[in-house]
């Protein structure tokens, strides 16, 4: 299949050998599970259970908060111990509303939803509704509600479904193992999604550093005789797994800034999401567990584990033999775009693709030196931005100037910071700028809202005062009239 070149990108050591040959194991059931209400992009879910309720595995715990949201289901059977605040798996260390479930050890499933007998006869709305009901979100890390991306075919003209098996982040191998060990489940989910989207072409993209996955998937597609599906290897270059860049490599079409890939006719889904669709449609099972990679030299036994959602990171690491040393970094996700975790007593969520405990020798960086405008960052930026210019504006608090040259279009891949010879924390500058610009927009919206309220109130007060004056005048006029009548009667 013809591949196109993307601009920029960096070659990183993939370091996947730590866990790539570890078959998927299942984590023994933890005693306590902590399920945050916000595990997806969109409004937080709203609890439908209360403290003390006894629930079964797969039972609805919280319903979707809005059209762009996802419900939550019990990862195991047990009792709701508390619905309160728990530390979020987020760099801020802030807490969020979390359902704390005490497992009863029986791991008993509730009644599954009726399987959709023939998904290929069902329409897109049915499949999307099933995905919504089962709480499916993008498992690549972004956690966007899958249902919204499954019935796009009814609204926009689509021609290609791309299955993202790139897994370009170093250390992570969960998608690799899924493609090797759960091939049939993945491919079934892929075909169901393609049917829902109404696309003619399906491309499964796998980086060439995963030769076994490529071979197995190609073989399975050939055995199934599905001519619409093409399995293709793509060069192992970071950030190949980024949605926009993957679409560019495969189709040569560049997604315009601030638009979706769907606007150019392509939808991208992760392999784990495809597997989740298979389980939701064929078996009526909601999303209650996921495969993730635990890796890094600070972990004694790196492996790929199927983990119930809500398991604490501490338990996960203990199962992997514990830490060999205090980690220099504890990350959720990969080392390029992963978020630092505030501690180990945080739960894993739907979007957690990996937990990394990295030792100091594995870190790439050094003392920060002044920028000499060498331009290395410009040549590696896959989005075609100018990181050195944006960073120099942000350093001098000229965020508007940085926004003008495109800091909002930065995907945060980290190629520039990785390549910078002076080790300048470029992504940190851009995340700060994006955050402050959002805060400024929020403040502006609040000011506009308050202005509307103040004007409305002033108008209302004016109306009330006017009505009072008129009533007063009417009363005075009415009071005069009877006197006149009385006077004339007397006269």
């Amino acid at each position: 299949m013809k591949l196109f070149r993307i601009r920029g990108g960096v070659h990183v050591e993939h370091r996947k050998e730590l866990s790539s040959e570890q078959a998927i194991v299942t984590l023994p059931l933890p005693a306590w599970l902590y399920i945050p209400l916000q595990q997806h992009i969109g409004a937080p879910a709203e609890p439908v259970v209360v403290e003390g309720d006894v629930v079964l595995k797969g039972q609805l715990l919280a319903k979707a908060g809005s059209a762009v949201s996802a419900p939550l289901h019990a990862p195991t059977s047990g009792r709701i111990a508390q619905i309160g605040d728990w530390m979020a798996p987020h760099p801020s260390g802030l807490t969020q509303r979390t359902i704390i479930l005490e497992s009863d050890g029986r791991d008993q499933w509730c009644e599954p939803l009726l399987p959709i007998d023939d998904p290929f006869a069902a329409d897109a709305k049915t499949i999307a509704a099933r995905a919504a009901e089962c709480g499916l979100v993008g498992m690549g890390g972004a956690a966007f509600p899958t249902a919204v991306k499954l019935d796009l075919g009814t609204r926009i003209k689509l021609d290609t479904l791309v299955i993202n098996g790139a897994e370009c982040e170093p250390y992570l191998t969960c998608d690799d193992r899924l493609m090797r060990e759960r091939t049939d489940e993945v491919l079934d989910g892929v075909r169901i999604m393609a049917h829902a989207l109404g696309v003619e072409r399906i491309v499964v993209a796998i980086e060439t550093n995963k030769p076994q996955a490529l071979a197995i998937m190609t073989q399975a597609v050939a055995a199934g005789g599905w001519s619409k599906i093409t399995v293709t290897g793509i060069p192992a270059r970071y950030p190949m797994g980024s949605e926009r860049h993957l679409v560019h490599v495969l189709t040569g079409r560049e997604t315009p800034a601030r638009k979706l890939t769907a606007d150019i006719g392509v939808v991208v889904h992760n392999v784990a999401t495809a597997r989740a669709v298979h389980h939701a449609v064929r078996h009526g099972r909601p999303l209650v567990a996921r495969v993730m990679t635990v890796s890094g030299q600070a972990v004694r036994r790196p492996q790929n584990i199927e983990v119930p959602l809500g398991t604490l990171v501490a338990e996960l690491i203990d199962h992997c033999g514990g830490l060999t040393e205090p980690p220099a970094r504890l990350l959720s996700g990969g080392p390029m775009m992963g978020q630092p975790l505030p501690g180990r007593k945080v739960p894993v969520i739907k979007g957690t693709s990996g937990i990394l405990a990295l030792s100091a020798v594995e870190l790439h960086g050094g003392p920060v030196q002044p920028c000499i405008k060498c331009g290395t960052c410009v040549s590696v930026c896959p989005c075609g931005l100018v990181p050195l210019e944006m960073a120099s504006y942000i350093r001098k608090d000229r965020l508007d100037a940085a926004a003008k040259i495109g800091v909002q279009d930065c995907v945060g891949c980290g190629s520039c910071a990785y390549a910078c010879p002076a080790h300048i924390p470029l992504v940190h500058y851009f995340n700060y700028a994006k955050g402050r610009l959002s805060a400024q927009e929020r403040e502006q919206r609040k000011r506009d809202r308050i202005k509307r309220l103040a004007v409305a109130r002033a108008d209302r007060m004016e109306k009330i005062a006017k009505a009072k004056r008129e009533a007063m005048a009417a009363r005075k006029a009415a009071a005069k009239k009877p006197e006149a009548v009385a006077g004339s009667a007397q006269a």
Binding site: P370, S392, Y393, R395, K396, R398
Partner: protein, 193 residues
Amino acid sequence: MQEYVLMLVGTALVNNVVLVKFLGLCPTMGTSGKVETALGMGMATTFVMTLSSVLAWAIESALLAPFELGFLRTLTFILVIAAVVQFTEMVVRRVSQPLYQALGIFLPLITTNCAVLGVALLNVQEGHGFIQSLLYGFGSAFGFSLILIVLAGLRERVALADVPAPFAGAPISFVIAGLLSLAFMGFAGISTR
């Protein structure tokens, strides 16, 4: 024809009014903070300088030379320049209010720009005719605008760098202007006499 081209090149680059003759440094430093302001100031000064060069030549040839009123030269030239600047101010205010606000006090200060008076007097000294006065004035003004814009561009970039506190602002701008002046000495080899 060639003489006129040489005159333009000479006044704009070789004998640049700011970097070689060192006239008009105050408005240069004052309005070279941002490229938009510099562009506006450059256009205003070009208009003033060209018009006043021509009017000054007219005054010289019609009034001062025939009636031997050479001692009134400075007075009448300043009078003319002030009137032209007033007119320019009105035009700028009408055409672009933001530019008017951005230039601020520097717009009326074009009156005291020694480059404008200097060019007018140099025209008399060199004994230029009408076309020559016009080109001399326009060429000098073009050179002035060029330096203004180049300096503005450089200053905008330097503002983003880590300049040591004692040098921040005007001092580093003068150093840059000095370096530019050194660079323009390279044109000295081109003879325009």
